[in-house]
């Protein structure tokens, strides 16, 4: 059977209407809305064809038609028109993302908040994966006799620090040597590579005080590196699902919230998605639990290299055109803001 021009127009109207109202639509109503001079009976025939082709479903005999995931896919790929953001929203995005940049993390968090506010959906953002981030330098700073601060700086400009409680006394000189030697040994290596090395072993030939220093510091060094490698997940607008009629069921809402709040797993799902703007609709999602959600993710770039993701999750019935435009505009702004974040160093 052919997808005639008329069938497409009808399908488009059904999808559009359902996205707005969340109500199944009948032939009679649609006939009035379409204003193409075709009678309800004709539309019924067309609808019947579309159903046979898998674009529509029927909650029950006497209900109207509802678009299937396949219909949304067709809509997103072919029928949807480019949505131009109102200038006002553009300004808001520029204002919030570009101004007031202190830390990457904070900006990404703001981006997630903004995204949920503009879309009325649940939004998320993950910070860039640091695995391929390379170490620039390591510095141990004396604070007081019992306290040392470890600072790790990466090529991309990420700085992380930990306070280390010292049980054994240390000298500033030893700390300084340690900083220099570790920097020399590890500079230019990726964080995940460094984590694979045995730091105690690489210092074993040194003097005794040094050995004890390294031993004290090792667990902190490792856990700091591990922390740096953890991507962070920001969520916002999780209560927005309550405004979707399809989540007026307590059981569904619960499943949704539990999935989204299971941060570890949800982060993995997001990280496994391809780069660029990716839309997965309903049963296109590999995860069972996402089967009646749509997920839109986009990629942002820090310094051209580091890659993070952000996006929204909501019912399959969502304003794909609008949401996609908003996400794209936000990621564009993030990319622009963090275009030249760290010195682009030589790789050792």
């Amino acid at each position: 059977m052919d997808l005639t021009e008329r069938k497409l127009r009808i399908l488009q109207a059904i999808v559009g209407d359902f996205i707005r109202s969340a109500e199944p639509i009948g032939s009679r109503t649609l006939s009035k809305k379409l204003d193409m001079g075709i009678s309800p009976a004709t539309i019924r025939n067309e609808m019947s064809d579309l159903e046979e082709m898998g674009f529509l479903t029927h909650p029950h005999t006497s209900a109207g038609r509802v678009p299937s995931d396949k219909a949304y896919r067709l809509y997103v790929n072919n029928l949807m028109q480019r949505y131009e953001l109102p200038e006002e929203e553009k300004h808001i995005i520029e204002e919030k993302i570009t101004k007031n940049v202190t830390e990457l993390e904070r900006t990404i968090q703001h981006a997630a908040t903004l995204l949920s506010e503009l879309t009325n959906l649940t939004s998320f953002a993950i910070t860039p994966n640091q695995e391929s981030n390379r170490l620039k330098y390591i510095n141990f700073l004396p604070v007081d006799p019992q306290t040392v601060v470890l600072m790790i700086v990466t090529v991309s400009g990420k700085v992380s620090n930990t306070t280390i409680k010292m049980r054994v006394p240390y000298t500033e000189e030893n700390l300084s040597i340690l900083s220099k030697v570790m920097t020399y040994n590890y500079k230019g290596k990726t964080l995940s590579d460094i984590l694979k090395l045995d730091i105690i072993k690489s210092f074993e030939s040194d003097i005794e005080a040094m050995g004890r220093l390294v031993e004290t510091i090792q667990p902190n060094f490792i856990s700091t590196l591990e922390n740096m490698l953890n991507v962070e997940l920001f969520l916002d607008g999780i209560t927005n699902i309550f405004s979707c009629p399809e989540y007026n069921d307590i059981e569904k809402a619960k499943v949704f919230l539990e999935m989204v709040n299971h941060k570890k797993h949800f982060t993995d799902v997001l990280m496994n998605r391809e780069n660029g703007v990716i839309i997965t609709i309903g049963n296109e999602n590999s995860e069972d639990i996402l089967r009646d959600c749509s997920l839109i993710t986009a990629t942002y770039h820090i310094n051209g290299k580091m890659i993070g993701k952000l996006g929204v999750i909501g019912p399959t019935r969502m304003k794909y055109d609008e949401v996609t435009s908003i996400i794209e505009y936000i990621t564009d702004n993030i990319n622009e803001t963090f275009k030249i974040t760290g010195g682009d160093e030589e790789d050792d």
Copy 2:
């Protein structure tokens, strides 16, 4: 009317039963459970008295009785017995809190997670208010020609840093001078006091390059201080409310989740509570929105001085004895772990 011993025993039984089952209890069932050899009719009379005194309510004529907030209050103050944590739970708490301490923030977050897991309620924790925390030293570290890291260390051992993008060139010497002068000027002052000072003014007599340096750095310095002053709120187990029958109503669940997710406001509510273990039941809460919740908060101490809070929020029908014991055991462990976190310096 007098609260006789028998009335108390009946009330205790009703509260205990309702906490377990969430179902109104009738005279007949209660008579069997109490096993005191009093007939349902007698219990009905006593219940009627207790209702008149405000300890019980009646969802409707033919339902059983339900404890009122006043009954819970009496239960918590007088009837409740001390609950001894099973050794197993104690071990879990000790294990998770005491071991593996890298950062205060992380430990507090783990404490919140633990609390929600052990109580099956929604838990929260806020990091200590830093207003009275005193500065120990400030250090500007050169990273590369365009990048400087600002590091602020407080007496309590809190370390915070920010990466500053330099638009004007700087010399290491100037940075070093700036670090020393600012440390000299601000050491021993509280963070909130420092924020009130005008850093540009205090350097106005210096050479020009220095002035430009200070100007570049000022906004970052201020925002870093502001960030340090923000208390952080960790939430966990928010989907636990779905397992409470009283929140099987989508509207109630929504209100609950929105309140808890409105982090700014919720943090304020928590910060305004008194120190120590505080239980507020239903309408005892000043916030309208908390009227059918109970809130239990406790205080933990860092280094004897800095004070943070953690606790749970749930239906008024909660296992006050058990939950209180768990919270106390957790705060005890936190206090112990962070007893001597920073050197106890002289206050200048």
